[in-house]
Symmetry: C2
Subunit: 451 residues, 2 copies
Amino acid sequence: MTKTPMNSVAIIGKKRDGIQLDPEEIRFFIDGYNRGEIPDYQASAWCMAVYMRGMSYAETSQLTQAMVDSGEVLDFSDVVDRVVDKHSTGGVGDKTTLAVLPMVAACGVPVAKMSGRGLAFTGGTLDKLESISGFNTQLSRDQFKTLLRDQGIVIAGQTGQLAPADGKLYAIRDVTGTVSSIPLIASSIMSKKIAGGATAIVLDVKVGLGAFMQRLEDAEELAKTMIRIGEDFDMEVTALISDMNQPLGNAVGNALEVREAIDTLRWGGPADFVEHSLVIAGHMLRLAGVAQDKDLKDARAMLQEKLSNGEAWNKFCQMVENQGGDIAQINNPDLLPRAPIVQVVEAERSGYLQTINSREVGLAALHLGAGRYRKEDPVDHGVGLEIWHKVGDFVEKGQPLFTIHARTESAAEIARHRVGAAHVWSERPGMPLFYNTLFTETERVPGRIEP
Amino acid sequence: MTKTPMNSVAIIGKKRDGIQLDPEEIRFFIDGYNRGEIPDYQASAWCMAVYMRGMSYAETSQLTQAMVDSGEVLDFSDVVDRVVDKHSTGGVGDKTTLAVLPMVAACGVPVAKMSGRGLAFTGGTLDKLESISGFNTQLSRDQFKTLLRDQGIVIAGQTGQLAPADGKLYAIRDVTGTVSSIPLIASSIMSKKIAGGATAIVLDVKVGLGAFMQRLEDAEELAKTMIRIGEDFDMEVTALISDMNQPLGNAVGNALEVREAIDTLRWGGPADFVEHSLVIAGHMLRLAGVAQDKDLKDARAMLQEKLSNGEAWNKFCQMVENQGGDIAQINNPDLLPRAPIVQVVEAERSGYLQTINSREVGLAALHLGAGRYRKEDPVDHGVGLEIWHKVGDFVEKGQPLFTIHARTESAAEIARHRVGAAHVWSERPGMPLFYNTLFTETERVPGRIEP
């Protein structure tokens, strides 16, 4: 019997019918798409079939491999022993990287991170850093490597052609309703991290209103899938699930978030954000072999030491200086970009905060100009929001509820209504789904979970 | 609350999540796609979501309406009282139109049919007719209308820009694994028939190995869906399910099928094909109001009369003459295109025929050159196959099993093996799934079936 030669329509049809794809079929499809031989309309139909039918761990891992192989694979082993990375699936007010990288570097662990830009209601680390005048996020591979070796801290946009097939597939998913597919998200994140030369990674999987994953079980499945892929690629992975049902910290918006990160490094940040940063940084130290204990006690002690003795803050300053940023601005954050209109909105009633809809807060910040609707949009670094309370807090009528930083009066007016409505009140303390500071460490997926 | 403006990604997402689309959303999507504002890659993702999630009757009907409205709508009411059409979902050896149109026209019912070309393993009426030298299937709308009015019989390719959105959507479905979706097939067929000016139609829904629908329940669902759409458009619809688990009649291939249709009109066709033609034609007479009885007794008597007195044959000759075809060829079918190589293949054993895989027979004919792999391929009118037995027949070793009409020895050799293997033998009579001549008339869908 002759074997039918592979063709893209048959591969789409197989996935559509729920039949597991062979590794060669996945490679044929991804390579063909990357080379432009398989058109966008076939890729989008295939993504929809994957979205609806899912993928086994084996298929997801093969997809990751095919995307890694579509471009360059970076290797920093000539410069450092291991590269410990972190990745957040994206949230509202998530400026964790800004605080965590200097904290970890201050403990003697070299950190080299490639970050992205914000899209829709989630912010991006590069946009935040570019609030600082002169900060250069466009580094060559050599500049990146040299900073890693000599300074032990560097952060930039993607250097080189990493997993170009993923870039192409993501662009088509973004406009065809096929973004929130667990195997597609997992392979997208992991292919870029593997190609980017990371040898260990802490994954911060956000769940809730202000995240791509709305349900805890989906977030757990995503975390497990990425851990499993990591095993196939000999990468050490720790995955955390963290709450995005309310904004992280207080600040939402580029310069406002840089300011909050600076406060945190100087030991004055919001409690939930400080806690979050300690946990992420602690796991990075564990993966780096600097801290061993599972409850992160040693790691916390070390990190708190580096915060209180100013070494973490010094690392931040060093990073800004290395990459051409204006040190005067970070020493005096009042010099960072500011919006002309600043309005404090007071609570119109007393009561317990039951919900602070972080998606609504993110969308309000987006509308103020802090984010981008489309990839090519510019961002306004000065605008944003400060959310002064957490779910469960009792707030007295007349207390400051949130602060708007806006470019125009009309934008401020819309934000006032939208963010006001995002605060939902209750007569009783109630219980949020879970708190920002509550983590579930996803254990290594045991071998018995079959593809 | 402000309503979000419609956008294509949201519409894809809604269908993806199994939520019924609003009529405005379906129209927005189809109109946008037709105008080129919605790209192919969004249309294909949407088709895949429709394929997987299905559509309610209401959605399917709205989709049909949007596709009808995308182009011209023909109206023949100034020429004839009603236009009774027929449509087959496509099969192997299905030359029914060639025989049925003259039979119905001979009964005084004007017939005007727009036909298509073959693709993959199914043949197309236009290709078959073009076996006759000079036969012109490219008529202007005026020529078409004039022949209908003056001659009462006309057959041609699509005239005018009928349902262009359907044409565009079909092209993308064909290359993205989204053809065999019941709502998409139903709306595609019905939109072209409605735009083409038909007021009543007999639908011949094929089921089995050599058809798009493999399962009886799918064929029934397709038939019901089209009947339901017909009701929404005030079109009288009779749907039949007919067997495509073996070829219809004996001949498969363009000139061979024309010859078999000629035999049938002269009262000498294969029994299964004669029976099939009488049933299709009978239902057309019922829809035309010429015959009333449900069991088609009157209609059959009338049709058999027209066959035996030569009037049906005369109508066929009239149609060929009207459209520029060579009368000498149809009077002496030996003058029709013939293949240089004709090989009779004999049965290598005795036994009962359990299966004659019509898909394999269709694919073998395609490979001989009778069909086209891609729309732009030419067809070879002379080549094809004659299959001499039916499922359930007892065949003696050495009896002719099938005849190959080929252009080259190597093509004949491949056909010999492929068609030989398509014949499956049994020691006992056995029972085919059902016979070609078995019909299930789908009753009007009762009102209680909800969208």
